[in-house]
Symmetry: none
Subunit: 401 residues, 2 copies
């Protein structure tokens, strides 16, 4: 969270309601032919009109020049400093496939790899075998048992899967078995602290059992384990801001991120219309709602400029429905930029707007990277957006007399 050390003194529960719409991968870069970004290219009359009535700015997700993954990008928007609140990779991988993690779980990112007859790595990703080929292998591994530890094995995609150890006395302080290069044997899962020797031993048994099950194969005949991580024990969002927060997201990863900070994850459907419906029917249950819109990021990741434009135009058509929700504060922000021209997440500042009764006439001429950068909020760390939302909702008392 932003280091405002007196937050608990000034946060004030009120009846006002905040809706934060996170447009995944919102920011973009200009198309080389037109010089206009996806947001500038898209016909977005509703967002533009909303921007004119809002205060606008741009958010830096983590730090200048730093490209965030989904985890840090969202944590920042929730007001958690992503350089301080770091999510282990195993946990992220588990959240991404919708696994519920308990406090006694250690999650591990795993993948199939290929070793030669002397056990030396020849391919760290087993030729990136497709899910169709890896699925039966994952099923085989799911049969592995370790005394005293519950073992859960779940496929992710292609050569990747997740292993979760569940039980008392487990620890995340175990080193990766992936040596990060071929020609040598996978590393032994070494404990980094004495308290983790039991977990390292469980990992060793799992690897041995996997080798026994897969060893007869020519490829995908071994596994690598990385990112041992347990669910972090962070201050709950609701306690921190004295809010009753609800999260509405069609994708498991974002529900998982919301659950990490203790938000109430509301069951919803597969797409944005279903999400809006869910929010609409729960507006009386929460005074803060995190609403996630995925398609902009997907199109950006695909490097499909036109698809990202369309996803933003689709979003724009849903803005009236969002306004109809009747929130006192409606904010539109992004967890990071995903410029189609890069086909990937990027470090670029992300446009943001905050609409409330107190922001009339201070807005930007349109909702775009350039217009928001010149907006009244200016350039802010994404992790301080939450304070803006709280202030605009009238939920922050004065600091000092």
């Amino acid at each position: 969270m932003i280091d405002f050390p007196f937050l608990s003194d000034i946060c004030q529960p009120t009846d006002s309601r905040i809706v934060l719409l996170v447009v995944d991968g919102l920011g973009g870069l200009p198309h080389p032919d037109t010089g206009m970004t996806e947001l500038q290219t898209a016909r977005t009359p509703n967002l533009d009109s909303l921007a004119a009535r809002s205060v606008c700015g741009v958010t830096t997700p983590v730090a200048p020049g730093i490209t965030p993954g989904s985890g840090p990008g969202h944590l920042a928007l929730f007001g958690y400093d992503p350089m301080k609140y770091v999510i282990g990779r195993g946990v992220l991988e588990a959240l991404g496939i919708g696994m519920d993690l308990g406090p006694n779980d250690v999650a591990i990112r795993c993948n199939f790899c290929t070793v030669d007859e002397r056990g030396r790595l020849t391919d760290r990703r087993a030729g990136r075998i497709p899910s169709s080929e890896s699925a039966p292998l994952v099923e085989q591994l799911a049969a592995i048992t370790i005394p005293g530890v519950e073992v859960i094995v779940r496929p992710v995609q292609d050569y990747r899967f997740v292993v979760v150890f569940r039980g008392d006395g487990l620890s995340e302080d175990v080193a990766d078995t992936d040596p990060q290069r071929v020609g040598i044997e996978p590393l032994d899962p070494m404990c980094k602290t004495a308290a983790a020797s039991y977990t390292a031993d469980a990992a060793r048994r799992f690897v041995q059992a996997a080798r026994d099950l897969l060893g007869a194969r020519r490829t995908a005949n071994m596994i690598l384990m990385r990112g041992f991580a347990s669910k972090p024990d962070w201050p709950a969002f609701g306690d921190r801001y004295k809010l009753t927060p609800g999260a509405v997201a069609a994708y498991p990863m974002y529900r998982g991120l919301a659950s990490l900070v203790g938000m109430d994850v509301v069951p919803t459907g597969d797409d944005f219309d279903a999400e809006i419906e869910t929010v609409s029917s729960h507006m009386d249950d929460y005074d803060y709602v995190f609403l996630h819109y995925k398609p902009a990021d997907t199109a950006g990741e695909d490097g499909d400029f036109d698809a990202k434009v369309r996803s933003l135009e689709y979003l724009d058509m849903r803005i009236p429905a969002l306004l109809d929700l009747g929130a006192d504060v409606l904010a539109v922000a992004g967890d990071h930029s995903t410029p189609s021209t890069l086909g990937a997440h990027s470090w670029h500042p992300v446009p943001a707007l905050i609409s409330s009764d107190s922001t009339r006439h201070l807005g930007a001429p349109e909702f775009s990277e350039r217009a928001c950068a010149a907006g009244y909020i200016g350039h802010i760390p994404a992790s301080s957006l939450m304070l803006h939302l709280m202030a605009h909702a009238g939920k922050l008392d004065k600091f000092g007399a």
Copy 2:
């Protein structure tokens, strides 16, 4: 102060002189009918012309979304990080009524309250009795003596008053006696550290004596003590920046804040004209002058848009006199926004301009929230404005070779 850890290496005493005009509550919000803020509405040809010849920006007083009181707002402008340099409530209350506090003093915010026949609180503010009713009660309490501790009792307003304990061995680490709710007895003043038991004991004696004096009354028959605080021992502004600072303010609170950071508080009159006169006659005595203008905040707090506009127009007419002072750097800034539409302090960024010989042609088209937000300085923490002033005055050496 802003965390530039090499400040003492680069601060350089010179003959140049800085005048910082703090317009209390400077920033505003648009009037719903016109879409224009107080600053935009006011006819301010001198400020606008000055802005055009200055560099402009907006300051965030404490942190995004945080509404500051006068204390944090001014400390930031003096270059002290208000999240690190926190003023106790008792001290602020004492400063507000112009009391001089010494290093051996503990100041306490007190108020009259009403208890029932069993000593349980029925009204934590004694019906908010007016000053006319509380004045004689304060006078009664002023007669209380405590062995070994000098006791000073001063009225503030209505039901509020200040008690200062003066003497050796006192400590601020005493808990409030206000339980924050009615139906129970006031709390005993408990020491939070062993070193504070002597002070807690003095407080206990004071409360007991007050009860004896007031107990026969039907209302305002008891007192509550809060915010035990001693004067902080902070690095002096003059030492930090190698300046000889003077403060000119008509209101006690602002003189008190200047004295907290060791500025020389210059006696002055009741209004801004008197203040300017005072500055004018002391320009050879100081190389930094803090000059305070109060009416904009007062009008904003009153929710009187037109009065705030008039206060800014009045100020504008005095700008030529400020320019005549001949300062090398003249800055106009605010401790916080006080939008008339809110009738209270707010978190909104505050316009600022810095005029010096090195700033011609980089200015803003007018002195307003919007124009300054797009200014060359951009959005800065208020606590870094001081570095800008020092730089423009040629008082900062190069950092690194």
